[in-house]
């Protein structure tokens, strides 16, 4: 009756979120008095999951599963749940994980609580705290089915080291052609850059940047901080930046440690999308911009003067603290 966790990887390497969900699974297992089994797909270094409390890894090595496929992955995960007689399944909050989790839940006839931000408040009933209304509220939700699926918000729980030894066991789920009725034919993805979902720091630009030709300084600031770049809705509507960078209620939610908003006034829909971020900085010429009410730190000033100075100063800071 272990807790099962889906540990996401890319090109054979675990994502940072894999260690976070493993840590969450360990916290749940502690409450239930049981152990954590991880399922990994074509990942190297499975034993490192032991550092986060995982004692068993079901290692899937399968060429056909090298690219994420929600239906096939859901099949594999549910088979693992049945094999381990798991009662709780922990999944992350990446775009792929949110594609996968409802399919796993429906296959298992299990209740699914997404966007969970803390360890369970109780296990009988199984009650979790999750964000609702685009981070404008929290719900305390019970999952009332025999098997429970929990979707953990990025950066909400954190990766916590819990030294254990992970036994790695090969696992070959009975995947068939029917599991590949949707096929990936092309992936267009920026390689080697942090994404909004994974990044600890997000640097975001708004209409105050005046045009896409001015995004160089946003990207440079992001490079210095190892950050992902993002934008407000008007910017993506104007086509200055792709929709995948649009942060807000109808775009992507951001739950980074640091969110820097440059030239973004702070419409209610944008603020809803970033409220789960821990530290917020705003740079805007308008002291009345609503973002100043939501931010921790602010500079009233022209982005074209402030940002280049900030880049230089951060470079100096990094050199001194290297």
């Amino acid at each position: 009756m272990s807790v099962l966790v889906y540990t996401e990887s890319e090109n054979g390497k675990f994502k940072k979120s894999a260690f976070e969900v493993a840590s969450y699974a360990y916290a749940v297992a502690q409450q239930l008095g049981t152990t954590v089994t991880a399922v990994s797909f074509n990942a190297e270094g499975n034993d490192t999951l032991g550092n986060y409390g995982v004692t068993k890894v079901l290692n899937i090595s399968n060429e056909t599963l090298k690219t994420f496929n929600a239906k096939a992955y859901a099949h594999a995960l549910t088979e693992a749940v049945e094999k381990e007689t798991a009662k709780v399944v922990i999944i992350g909050s990446s775009t792929d994980s949110k594609y996968l989790a409802p399919m796993v839940a429906a296959k298992l006839k299990a209740g699914y609580a997404p966007n969970v931000v803390d360890a369970p408040e109780s296990t009988s009933p199984f009650k979790v705290k999750r964000t609702v209304f685009s981070n404008k509220g929290f719900a305390h939700t019970t999952i009332d089915t025999d098997i429970k699926v929990v979707g953990v918000s990025n950066n909400a729980f954190g990766a916590k080291e819990n030294s254990a030894t992970a036994a790695v066991e090969d696992f070959s789920p009975a995947i068939t052609d029917a599991d590949f009725s949707t096929k990936s034919i092309e992936i267009d993805k920026v390689v080697g850059k942090a994404t909004i979902a994974d990044a600890d720091v997000v640097v975001s630009g708004g209409r105050g940047l005046k045009g896409p030709e001015n995004w160089g300084m946003i990207e440079e600031l992001a490079d210095v901080l190892g950050a992902a770049t993002a934008c407000s809705k008007p910017v993506s509507d104007l086509g200055w930046r792709p929709h995948s960078e649009h942060v807000g209620q109808t775009g992507k939610p951001v739950a980074s440690n640091l969110y820097i908003a440059i030239g973004i006034s702070g419409a209610i829909q944008h603020l809803a999308g970033i409220s789960a971020s821990k530290v917020k900085v705003v740079i805007n010429t308008d002291p009345e911009a609503p973002f100043f009410k939501a931010a921790d730190y602010g500079i009233v000033g022209d982005a074209f003067e402030v940002v280049p100075t900030l880049i230089e100063k951060l470079k100096e800071f990094k050199a001194q603290n290297a």
Binding site: Y99, A105, T145, V190, I196, V201, S244
Partner: protein, 248 residues
Amino acid sequence: MKILVCISNVPDTTSKINFTEGDTKFDTNGVQFVINPNDEFGLTRAMWFKEKQGATVHVVNVGTATTEPTIRKALAIGADEAIRVNAEPTDGFFVAQQLAEVIKNGSYDLVIAGRESIDYNGGMVPGMIATLLDMNFVNTCTGLEIDGDTVTATREIDGGKEKISTSLPLVIGGQKGLVEESDLRIPNMRGIMMARKKALTVVEPTGADAATNDVSFDKPAAKGAVKLVDADNIDELINLLHNEAKAI
């Protein structure tokens, strides 16, 4: 092609969120309800298929009679018929089971649901109905081309996009990108008048149970005032971010 667009009735994106009855219910007082924005993109794409490829478009909502103005708006935009499953949408699994029943009975080729509703943000209904009915499924769908039974879909992934090949029958979790925001339609007077004559069928729910229960709600703690840093003193900002916020 027969298309079903699943419509969620949600508070307008600018709504202030409050809870009532001892923080156990969402306070609808003074809240304007609208078609879920992700569903609106899907509905507009469905209208495109209707006009360019000859599809029939139905809309469905799981909700009480209070959602009918939202359903009528979808009809005024151009959907041919509407179905309302007469039930309080208690949780995503419950809603998915109700919708699965409607889809099964209606033999739809394409089911479009928003990738998530902007109220409870579950993001689970499209994936659950696809799985319950063993239909193909593409989530976070930003592009959809259909030729006969062959489908090419584009979906958003973290840091980019992915092109997917699949076939009908299909469920998509749609979002912005399916159509441009400027293509979204505002019902005109003719559409509103015609919508009054279109069929809105009310069906009773199946006996499915909810799998989760929102026992209570609360709001994030009030935030302290912003610390303003002089634009000529960037060193101070870096100092605060490093020593106080521990963010860099």
